[in-house]
């Protein structure tokens, strides 16, 4: 009887296992092997860590890592703060229509948002034109560089616009579940607005904010389209470096490209594990972030 149940579960899971175990994990194993000295098209047939060691002395990789961390940390932090603020601002007043509209930017693909941003904040974009008509600048060259720029402002802004609604919705879902009782209680006990925020509301919604921020962080760390369109060729973000080297006509670049992708995968996996740990400890919101 027990065997029967187990066999049935195994059969039901078999097609999914083929995708996760065969394609996803299988692909990862092959990629790992190719980055560890088993890439036959260029005659590599023995274990070596040299593709990883060479990354340590690779100026482009190190600059890319720095750039990736800067963009990811900044965009995640700004999104978390603005997303929390938006959730709190909408907490009491938001109508169903506003809550529904909040889903629209969430539904826009990152690629489309990046296209919009280019036309807005490029040197001859709409913002620069508005500044011109206000008499603040005389030529596109006077507009600060916000795309293909040193600090990746365009990339960060695109991510913030996309991730703020995500974090806000996660926080609002938890807020709705908690209800107003704690808030009212704190008020009855004489807490000021700021005290209530600091000691009651923020601690209550922090699980949702932290968990969704981890999701945002690991997504931005590995995502490709936005830095590909809005970023500079150097220093590029890690995903762009990996893609560029992988598609290089010179096949000897490929093991190193895969090594870069493996670094991204390792960090993302670590964050996924962290997220799972966080959400499983925080009972109430486990369902939201997993399903």
């Amino acid at each position: 009887m027990k065997h029967d149940v187990r066999l049935k579960a195994a059969l039901l899971l078999a097609p999914l296992a083929a995708v996760i175990g065969g394609l996803f994990a299988g692909g990862l194993v092959i990629a790992a092997a190719q980055s560890l000295g088993y890439y036959s098209p260029i005659g590599e047939h023995g274990f070596t860590l040299r593709h990883y060691f060479s990354l340590l002395g690779d100026a482009e990789f190190l600059a890319g890592l720095r750039q990736t961390l800067w963009v990811t940390v900044t965009a995640t932090a700004v999104s978390a703060v603005c997303g929390t603020a938006l959730a709190l601002a909408l907490r009491r007043t938001a109508t169903g229509a506003i809550r529904t509209l909040l889903q629209v930017p969430l539904a826009l693909p990152h690629l489309a948002m990046a296209v919009v941003l280019i036309n807005l904040i490029a040197p001859s974009g709409l913002f620069a034109r508005i500044l011109f008509h206000l008499g603040l600048i005389a030529a596109p060259a006077e507009f600060p560089a916000l795309i293909n720029d040193r600090f990746s402002i365009g990339i960060i802004v695109t991510y913030v616009l996309k991730e703020v609604p995500f974090i806000a919705i996660m926080a609002m879902t938890l807020l709705a579940r908690i209800g107003d009782e704690y808030d009212d209680l704190a008020r009855t006990l004489g807490a000021s607005g700021l005290q209530k925020l600091r000691h009651v509301t923020l601690p209550l919604i922090s699980p949702a904010v932290i968990s969704s921020s981890v999701i945002v962080f690991s997504f931005i760390f590995g995502a490709f389209e936005v830095p590909y369109i809005l970023g500079r060729p150097y220093p590029a973000m890690l995903s762009v470096i990996a893609q560029r080297r992988y598609l290089d006509l010179d096949l000897t670049q490929r093991p190193e490209a895969i090594a870069v992708a493996m670094v991204i995968a390792a960090i993302t996996t670590l964050l996924a594990w962290l997220n799972l740990r966080l959400t499983s400890r925080l009972t109430g919101i486990e369902r939201i972030s997993l399903f």
């Binding site: 187990r6 049935k8 039901l12 899971l13 999914l16 995708v19 175990g21 394609l23 996803f24 299988g26 692909g27 990862l28 194993v29 990629a31 190719q34 603020a85 709190l88 909408l90 907490r91 009491r92 007043t93 109508t95 809550r99 509209l101 889903q103 629209v104 969430l106 539904a107 826009l108 693909p109 690629l111 489309a112 919009v116 036309n119 709409l126 034109r129 508005i130 703020v164 609604p165 995500f166 919705i169 879902t173 690991s218 760390f221 590995g222 995502a223 490709f224 389209e225 369109i229 893609q243 598609l247 895969i258 993302t268 997220n275 799972l276 369902r287 939201i288 972030s289 997993l290 399903f291």
Partner: protein, 274 residues
């Protein structure tokens, strides 16, 4: 009293921000797509034109075939994902077994971030198998993020559905097909719709996986969109962007009309698979 006013001001500001974020990007794309000769420092296009839209609709140009291809690909990925996810979600929701947490972790991984390294390995595998640069290869690689996501959504639906209902229908003499049609399907229908929509959108908006595995053989809409963006044709890029976001907008409108709260919460995870 004062804090009431403050919270109302904050609420109004927040609502204004939401309205701006939801409408301005789409409106701007519409204006750009009809623009012609919109040079510095004009605030509005000097001339309006249908050129970009004519080009997008021209069956002889490269857009129309890629549109059809993207649609067919996303539909195939949706059907395959549902066929994979339906049995898996039943097992995950109703059976307890060792390693269940590991399965959930495995589901989460390809969903959280674009599985770049994995796609590179899959590419090597497909080169050997002769399906690199083909639609079949691209469809299979799109399943890596789509099938786990679909499974997560459906597991949620099945875990809210008591398998006893199926058992009762069986006792009453219903066959497997009747049970599925009359009992199970109506119960999980909302989750099924959400799962299908996300599988479609995941495939539809996929860029990097298509590029890596499809090479020059597979030209989907996002690939064409990026190449127009790089060529600097703003009007066609805007028109293509609108076509690109159309399915998401259509789904959003349908969802807002037909489904309420519970589903909208399930939506929130979707964003991260694009």
């Amino acid at each position: 009293m004062k804090s009431d006013i403050r919270s109302r001001t904050a609420g109004t500001t927040g609502a204004a921000a939401v309205i701006a974020l939801a409408t301005i990007p789409v409106l701007l794309l519409v204006v750009w797509s009809f623009s012609r000769g919109w040079f510095w420092p004009a605030l509005l296009p000097a001339e309006w034109s249908l050129r970009a839209w004519r080009y997008v609709a021209d069956p002889g140009a490269e857009v129309a075939p890629s549109l059809l291809a993207s649609f067919g690909l996303a539909s195939a990925v949706t059907i395959a994902s549902l066929l994979i996810a339906l049995p898996a979600a039943r097992a995950l929701a109703w059976h307890d077994f060792r390693g269940k947490r590991a399965v959930f972790f495995g589901l989460l991984l390809p969903v959280l971030a674009p599985p770049l390294a994995s796609a590179m390995g899959v590419h090597a595998l497909f080169l050997e198998a002769g399906i690199a640069d083909t639609w079949v290869g691209v469809m299979l690689v799109h399943l890596i993020p789509a099938a786990p996501y679909t499974t997560m959504v459906l597991t949620g639906s099945f875990s809210r559905f008591d398998p006893e209902y199926e058992a009762q229908a069986r006792t009453l003499g219903a066959g497997p097909f009747a049970i599925w049609r009359r009992v199970t399907l109506p119960a999980i229908a909302p989750g099924l719709a959400v799962a299908a929509v996300f599988a479609f959108l995941i495939s539809w908006s996929q860029y990097l996986l298509t590029l890596l595995v499809g090479g020059s053989g597979v030209r989907t809409l996002p690939l064409i969109l990026v190449s127009f963006q790089r060529s600097g044709d703003e009007a066609v890029t805007a028109a293509l962007s609108l076509v690109f976001i159309a399915p998401a907008i259509v789904v959003f409108i349908l969802a807002a009309r037909f489904m309420k709260n519970s589903l909208i919460h399930e939506d929130t995870r979707r964003d991260h698979e694009e």
